[in-house]
Symmetry: D2
C-alpha cells in the first residue's frame, strides 16, 4: 500500500458521512479510483432499490478522490452531473472514477457506478464533474 | 394538509434512506416542494462541513418530488447536475425545488439548496434535472 | 448606455462566430444579461426547428457574459448543462442569464432560453453553468 | 457504406445549420459515431479560439447521432452537459460519441471532442447527455 492510498483511507476514515454509509477505498492512483459501498437495507427508497442519493454520494466521492489525487492539493468539488441508467439492486456499489484532464487549478473526471450481485456487475449510473483546488495550501 | 402533501409524507416515511438521514417534507404542490434536513454530526466530511453527498441527496429528492407531483405518475429520476457554491455549515438544510416545464413523459425541475443557521439562510448549491415517468401505471 | 454594455457589444462584435449567427446584446449588468438571436433559415435542423446547437451557443454565450460581468475579469467557460424543453420555432431566440453566485474565482449562472413568435414567448431550454477566471490579468 | 451511415449522411445534409458549419460524418454504428468539422475563421471568439458554441454544437450532434442509432427511432435531445478542457485551436474538430446505455425510451451517451492540428489531436471538451424517443412513429 502506497502513500496515496494510505492518505485516501485516512481521509475516508475522517468523514463521518462516509463512515455512516460504510464506504471503502479499493484502489487509488493519480488518475483513477475505485470505491465500494456494501448495500445496506437503510440505503433503499420506497420500491426497494438503492436511493439515488446513495449513488450520487458515491459519484461525488469518487470524482473528488481522483481530482484531489491528480491535483495533489486540497480540493473542493465544484460540480457534477449524474445520469441514472437502471434501478440499483444488489450487494455492493462500485464507483470507478478516472481523470479526464487536469489543469493548473481544476480537474475534470468521469465516474462509472456499478451494482454487483452474485459476481455480476451492472452499470447503474454515470457521472462527470469538476474538482477545483481550494484556497488553502495543502496540509 | 391536502392529499398531495399526505402522499409525499407517506413516500418519505417509506424510504429507509430518507429516514436514515432524517429528511422532512415541509410543503408540496404540483409545482414546488420544500424539504428540510436537520444537520447531524454524521453528515460531515473531514473538514467539518456537510458532505456533498448529503446535498446531492437533498437535490435528488426535492427534484424528484416536484417531478412526480407535476407528472402525477410513478417516476424515476433520469439525471441531474449540481453546482456547489459554498461550504455547508449550519443547523438545517433546506431544499426548495420548482417545476420548470412538464411535458407528457418528463418534467424538468430546478432546486436551490440552503443551509440555515441562527435564522439566516445561505444558498449552498443549485441543481437542475429531469424526472421521467416510469413504465408502470400509477398505483 | 453604460461602460459594461459597451464592453459587451464590443466583445460580441469581435467574435466571428457570434457575427455569423447574428447575436445581439439587449442588456447587460453585473448580475444579468439578455441576448437576442433573430432566427435565420440556416439555423434549422431536418424537421424545420432551430438546431439544438444554436440554443446551446446562446446558453454558452449568455452564461459567459454574466460570469464575466460578475467576476470583472477575463474568463473562460468551464462547463454548463442544458435541458431542451420543447422544439424551438419562431422569430427570435432570447437568452436571459442571471448570476446565482460569484466567488473569488468562479461564478455560477443560470440561463433561460425563449423563442418569441408574434409577440408571444415560449421557454425552450434552461441551462446552468460555471464561468472561471482565466489566468491572465484583465486587459 | 452501409444503410445506417447513408441515413446519417442524408440527415446531416438536410440540416441547414450543419451545412452552415460544414459538419461531416466520418463513421456511424449503433454504438458510436465520429463527426468532423473543419475549423473556419468564422468559428472563432474574440481571442482567436474556436467559440464554445461550436464545440457544444458538435457535442449535441454527435450525442444525438449515437442516441438515434441506438434507439433506432425518431429522437430528440433531452439534455447534455459539457466540460471545456482547453482552448480549441487547430484545423479540425473531431467529435467522437459512444453509447453508454440504451433503454426502451432513452439512450445515455458520452462524447469526446478533439481538435486536430498537424496530425496531433488534443482533447478539448467532454460531454454526457440523454437522447429520448420522439412521440411520432419512425418514418
Amino acid at each position: 500500500m502506497d502513500d496515496l492510498f494510505e492518505w485516501g483511507r485516512k481521509v475516508l476514515a475522517e468523514q463521518p458521512f462516509s463512515r455512516l454509509l460504510g464506504a471503502e477505498l479499493v484502489s487509488l492512483s493519480r488518475t483513477a479510483v475505485e470505491m465500494r459501498l456494501p448495500i445496506k437495507p437503510e440505503f433503499r427508497q420506497q420500491y426497494g432499490f438503492v436511493h439515488g442519493g446513495v449513488l450520487s454520494y458515491a459519484a461525488d466521492s469518487a470524482l473528488t478522490y481522483v481530482g484531489a489525487s491528480a491535483l495533489d492539493a486540497l480540493v473542493v468539488t465544484s460540480e457534477f452531473k449524474i445520469n441514472y441508467l437502471r434501478p440499483a439492486l444488489g450487494d455492493v456499489i462500485l464507483a470507478r472514477a478516472s481523470l479526464v484532464h487536469a489543469g493548473r487549478n481544476q480537474a475534470v473526471c468521469r465516474c462509472d457506478i456499478f451494482v454487483a450481485q452474485a459476481g455480476s456487475e451492472k452499470l447503474c449510473a454515470v457521472a462527470q464533474g469538476t474538482i477545483v483546488k481550494a484556497r488553502q495550501a495543502k496540509v
